[in-house]
């Protein structure tokens, strides 16, 4: 049985991760104003500091935090186009991430990837991905390599509810089960695929039900309740470390639009308002207050604000990649022959 002090300490760790993700994305969103011109939005007079598409996980932070608190540094992770939270929760450097979103040479990808390809291989974060479900096969292969090399590390494979309707979901889950691979599949079900409610496009009972049909141990969990995600991951991860894939189906909600400049106006306003009321960060703050930890939570908020300000300042001051860098890291064979 967890003590109150133990629960408070763990909740504060989880809250710190969630608060960092929220603040990072809020800051990135503010810096992206005037960026991509779609969804009927007017361009602003000022060029955006963060130029590319920015897929925000606002409202989904509990999933990243609750899963990744269980991961070791040498565990691997594959992510989605909505990957800032997974990257931060896996331990990536926030300043390097902010530099990357700003397209600077000091970014974690040297300015070559931006938000949609954010990655920090140094902490086992093998990349956000611009293609839905693309991380699933990569995760299975990485897990197969770990197994072949005799490592006991695991791979956490995040994907969205839209991904379960792509072929690689079936191929990858079958593959992981057939070879007995250490993959924790995490379906981050925010209930909407771009602008289309997933339920209207999905037969059956979703990710966990499909995984069970393949004999994969699965849990459905309230993805907005970070303690529930934490507990479910705690149940599944020992299986995964033992070489049995498992799937966590975390039901959450995307408070923002599909991409940063998308106001998400195609959704029912009441539904969005209810989601705001049920904000997972608010939920944790209330829990912490009830545990007498309100001040500690505020200290975290203050610290995070300072960290964000430093990251933004560093990103704005950082140099652009030199034009010659466009020709680096394409390939080694025949390098120099670009036409």
């Amino acid at each position: 049985m967890q003590t109150q002090a133990g629960r408070s300490a763990r909740l504060l760790r989880l809250y710190r991760t969630m608060a960092r993700i929220r603040a990072f994305e809020d800051a990135a969103e503010a810096a992206s104003q005037g960026g991509v011109q779609v969804w009927g939005m007017e361009a602003s007079a000022l060029p955006a500091k963060v130029r590319g598409p920015l897929h925000l996980s606002t409202g989904q932070e509990a999933v990243a935090a609750g899963v990744c608190i269980h991961l070791r540094r040498d565990d691997l992770l594959t992510s989605t186009h909505r990957g800032h939270g997974h990257t931060l929760a896996k331990g990536a450097d926030m300043t390097k991430m902010m530099c990357e979103l700003h397209g600077r040479a000091s970014g974690c990808n040297g300015g070559k990837g931006g938000s949609m390809h954010i990655a920090d291989f140094g902490v086992g974060m093998l990349g956000a991905n611009g293609v839905v479900a693309a991380g699933i096969p990569i995760a299975t292969g990485a897990a197969q390599a770990l197994k072949l090399q005799g490592h006991d590390a695991v791979v956490a494979c995040f994907f969205g509810d839209g991904a379960i309707n792509r072929g690689p979901f079936l191929e990858g889950l079958n593959w992981a089960r057939v070879y007995g691979l250490p993959v924790l599949f995490v379906c981050e079900d925010n209930r909407i695929a771009a602008t289309t409610p997933t339920r209207s496009m999905t037969a059956g009972d979703g990710a966990a039900a499909r995984a069970r049909a393949l004999g994969i141990e699965s849990r459905e969990v309230d993805g907005n309740d970070v303690e529930a995600v934490d507990r479910a991951t705690a149940e599944l991860l020992p299986l995964v470390r033992g070489g049995t894939p498992a799937l966590l189906h975390a039901i959450t909600y995307r408070i923002k639009g599909h991409v940063s400049v998308d106001p998400g106006a195609y959704r029912d306003a009441g539904e969005v308002e209810r989601a705001r009321q049920a904000d997972p960060l608010g939920h944790v703050r209330a829990l912490l207050a009830a545990l007498g930890q309100a001040a500690a939570a505020q200290d975290i908020d203050t610290e995070v604000r300072r960290e964000i300000a430093q990251a933004l300042a560093a990103a704005e001051a950082a140099p652009w990649p030199a034009p010659d860098a466009a020709f680096e890291d394409v390939m080694t064979t025949g390098a120099g022959q670009w036409r």
Binding site: G113, A134, I136, P137, I138, T140, L148, P168, V178, Q337
Partner: protein, 330 residues
């Protein structure tokens, strides 16, 4: 120099086995590898003369039989490479590889660049091309130009047993994702192989020296080109035949030097002529040297089943010789 008489298929099997013996990171994955591959290209010949599947020597964990899941085969290879292995991917025929295009084009080819050089994807994707055994529209394509178009990919097209040994060895060593295109009608071709002879990527081979025109080709069309050159020689036309061997990078120096000498270029390939890689070579030579150039590829039709239909898609020696005569009259 120890020469072994062997086939195009076995030459690759021996090259892969040699790499697997010295480097534990090399693995192979694909459908039906356990039995040695459907074309027998995952086998070696033992000292007793018997052919054995590679899985017998290296085990099922390194020579991996997979489900029919081309997307996951290719994607898993990307993940394996990122986690420290050197996977050889078997796609059976290039037509099936189209089920793994995101994994090859968006993931393998882009990974190093878009993640700012954090990782490498040293994989070799064996995707056999070409006409073979009346296999019709979905088992006969030559799609090398698709991959030459993609930054990040090496494209190799071996035409001989020696090159299928040497180029596969080079592909496994190069550290880049390699699209490795063997021709299905060449599996049984016999030749002498020197296992120690390096065949670098990006170096063409002058298969026949000549002074009247330059005939650039690759893969199975090399052999048709050599036959055409023999015909032309009987007519007093001396063709220089260049086996390009790799399409990316491609050996401009060798092609340009030959063209500067002969002042005539014909590129011949089995792939559809329109937007084929022959167009790239012809344009490059025309830009650099301003000489007469010609191309010969298949018409823009799917490959038909009946021999009369399939023949229309085949770029053979008589057609190459005819194209060469036309070029020389210009």
């Amino acid at each position: 120099m120890a020469l072994t008489r062997t086939t195009y298929a076995l030459a690759a099997g021996e090259a892969l086995a040699a790499a697997m013996r010295v480097d534990a990171r090399v693995v192979a994955l694909g459908e039906d590898l356990g039995c040695g591959g459907v074309f027998g290209q995952y086998r070696t010949r033992g000292a007793d003369g018997a052919l054995r599947p590679l899985q017998q020597e290296f085990g099922a964990a390194r020579v991996i039989d997979t489900p029919i899941s081309e997307a996951n085969i290719m994607g898993a290879a990307v993940g394996m490479a990122l986690a420290g292995l050197k996977p050889v991917v078997e796609m059976r025929v290039i037509d099936f590889a189209l089920c793994g295009m995101d994994e090859l084009v968006n993931q393998a080819a882009k990974n190093r660049y878009m993640f700012g050089g954090q990782g490498r994807v040293p994989l070799v994707a064996r995707m056999p091309i070409g006409l073979w055994a009346a296999s019709a529209a979905q088992h006969s394509q030559s799609l090398e130009a698709w991959f030459a178009h993609i930054p990040g990919l090496v494209v190799a097209c071996p035409a001989t047993p020696q090159d299928n040994h040497g180029l596969l060895t080079a592909a496994l060593a190069c550290g880049d994702p390699v699209v490795y295109l063997e021709h299905k009608e060449l599996w049984g071709l016999e030749g002498d192989v020197d296992a120690a002879l390096p065949v670098p990527l990006g170096k063409a081979r002058i298969a026949r020296a000549g002074g009247d025109l330059t005939l650039v080709t690759w893969s199975r069309t090399l052999h048709e080109s050599l036959a055409a050159a023999a015909t032309l020689a009987g007519e007093g036309i001396d063709a220089e035949v260049i086996d390009l061997r790799t399409l990316w990078p491609w050996d401009r120096d060798a092609v340009f030097a030959s063209c500067a000498k002969t002042k005539r270029l014909l590129v011949a390939h089995e792939a559809v002529q329109a937007a084929g890689f022959g167009a790239e070579i012809a344009a490059s030579v025309a830009e650099a040297l301003g000489i007469a150039v010609g191309r010969l590829g298949a018409p823009r039709i799917p490959v038909g089943y009946a021999p009369t239909l399939e023949a229309e898609a085949r770029v053979d020696a008589p057609k190459i010789a005819a194209a060469a005569r036309t070029l020389l009259r210009r």
